[in-house]
């Protein structure tokens, strides 16, 4: 993906050149930095910049939303567990919004889609990460594609109102979102 508005400090090429120049300068003083370490340093800087932005955004969200108190903490803990420890593999879908007791099929699909959106954010982060393994990216893209299509179908049926396929479509969409979350959790845990 080409982003012409990207600042210089987010450019792997620019950072690579800067690190390379610094490594050459250090070499004159007897400090050798091999190319692999230089590449790791570039990745580290990109992560630190990205993580700083995300942390600020999350902090701002927590400060700005009065309703995010204990519930928000539970959501955060649940998703962290799902992403970092692979809890979904054993425990089923972490449907944060879908765990709210809904009153209609439309609300249920909407909740599932909201959870899917959260999973998509994590998936995008993974896919765009410089440390993502190609096989993992392919698996996550496949799971995301299936979930996306299933949710489109479930939404159409829910908004239609009287579609007899609705329960089956909802179950399929739920399973597809769970599969994506499981894929994310498993990949993260296994890497």
């Amino acid at each position: 993906m080409t982003d012409i508005s990207k600042p210089w400090y987010l450019s792997r090429t620019v950072l690579g050149v800067l690190i390379s120049v610094a490594a050459k300068a250090l070499a004159t003083w007897g400090y050798e930095i091999d190319p692999a370490l230089q590449a790791d340093l570039v990745t580290l800087i990109l992560h630190l910049v990205g993580f700083g932005g995300d942390a600020l955004a999350l902090f701002g969200r927590l400060r700005a939303t009065r309703r995010v108190t204990l519930g928000g903490g539970d959501v955060a803990k649940g998703l962290l567990l799902a992403l970092l420890l692979g809890a979904l593999v054993a425990g089923g879908p972490v449907a944060c919004a879908a765990r709210v007791e809904t009153q209609s099929p439309a609300q249920a699909v909407y909740a599932l889609k909201a959870d899917f959106l959260a999973a998509q954010y994590a998936a995008l982060r993974y896919v765009e990460s410089p440390v993502a393994a190609p096989a993992a990216v392919t698996a996550i893209q496949a799971a995301e594609g299936v979930a996306y299509a299933a949710l489109v179908e479930a939404e159409a049926a829910a908004r239609e109102g009287a579609d007899p396929r609705l329960p089956a479509l909802l179950a399929a969409a739920d399973a597809a979102v769970a599969r994506l979350l499981t894929e994310l959790a498993a990949r993260e845990a296994l890497r």
Binding site: D3, D40, D54, L84, A97, L117
Partner: protein, 67 residues
């Protein structure tokens, strides 16, 4: 993997979690609001959610890029 490689992996995991958590909190808040008001999502609310999901779907399927 070098020490810096492990640090990179840890930061990557934290980054992915932070992005998902922020979105999850917002989604939960919206659903709770629908339930509290006892109504289905409006076309505009569907549209907002779908536009965000479609954009992320496109970017995920494009595979991102590192430039």
């Amino acid at each position: 993997m070098t020490l810096i490689g492990y640090v990179n992996l840890g930061l990557h995991l934290a980054q992915a979690a932070a992005a998902g958590i922020a979105a999850a909190q917002e989604g939960k808040r919206l659903v709770e609001q629908l339930v509290a008001e006892g109504r289905d999502p409006t076309p505009a609310e569907w549209q907002r959610l779908n536009a965000a999901a479609a954009d992320l779907h496109r970017r995920i399927q494009q595979g991102g890029g590192h430039g």
